[in-house]
């Protein structure tokens, strides 16, 4: 199985603006179908430890993730817990690469717990229990080595 998930898109604007739109206008592009409530708003908060938050008048502010790396025009990475507050933690990395007069935006989405919770049961972490590892091992388990892995 080809993990992590990768997607790319080309936009007709410079990397600095693409970064600005990705972060500052996140509420305009984030699918309604993937919000806690369709009318909630999504934002990257600024500040010393910026977060990705979802806000709804009735349920208040909910943290969806934390910004790990903020390099305007180059790189953004953040954690995202789709099932916040209890769900799987995933890590999104977005690279902004100048491409002629425009920008190629490469998204890599993997699992991972960079802060590595202290809630690990003592012995649990001896298994590198990550989503990618689980999915990869699962693939090997059912099908033997996948052709995708043989040709990187």
């Amino acid at each position: 199985m080809n993990v992590p998930i990768r997607h790319s898109v080309r936009v007709s604007c410079p990397p600095e603006h693409a970064f600005r739109a990705f972060t500052g206008e996140v509420d305009r592009w984030w699918p309604k179908s993937h919000r806690g409530r369709p009318d909630a708003t999504i934002a990257f908060e600024s500040g010393s430890s910026p977060r990705l938050v979802e806000t709804h008048p009735e349920t208040g502010v909910r943290e969806l993730g934390r910004v790990l790396c903020w390099q305007p025009g180059e790189l953004l990475s953040y954690t995202w817990q789709p099932g916040a507050p209890a769900g799987l933690t995933t890590v999104v990395e977005v690279r902004f690469v100048a491409d002629g007069a425009g920008t190629r935006v490469d998204v890599t989405h993997r699992d991972g717990d960079p802060g590595l919770g202290s809630d690990w049961d003592t012995r649990a972490h001896r298994f590198a229990a990550s989503w990618t590892v689980v999915l990869g091992a699962f693939q090997d388990h059912i099908a033997g080595p996948s052709p995708a892995e043989a040709t990187p």
Binding site: S12, H34, P82
Partner: protein, 105 residues
């Protein structure tokens, strides 16, 4: 396919560890429980949660219940995340290009 149960189930480190263990081969409840410093009933609860999320399935082998990984739950998570980017990125490109045009005017 609804990914919410699988996302919830995967949010717990012990449950992820159980899945990683099962990726190495099918195991009985007892064999799983031996690997963890938590009680057998607690492991059974985790297994039930994984089962209802479609991440594992069980089969009776003699007097034992043997658990194995199940594809459906994993696929639902992947499809859900994949669908997110398929929908989000074209929309992001549209938004970015629109606001760039407005700035350049």
């Amino acid at each position: 396919m609804n990914a919410a149960p699988a996302l919830d189930a995967l949010g717990n480190p012990t449950r992820r560890a159980i899945l990683t263990l099962l990726a190495g081969g099918d195991r009985s409840v007892n064999a799983i429980a031996r690997e963890f410093p938590v009680s057998r009933p607690a492991i059974s609860r985790h297994l039930r949660s994984l089962e209802s999320a479609g991440l594992v399935a069980q089969e009776r082998a003699g007097r034992e219940h043997v658990f194995r990984l199940e594809r459906g739950g994993f696929d639902s998570v992947r499809q859900w995340l994949d669908a997110f980017w398929r929908e989000a990125l074209p929309e992001f490109a549209r938004v970015a290009e629109q606001s760039w045009e407005e700035r350049s005017r």
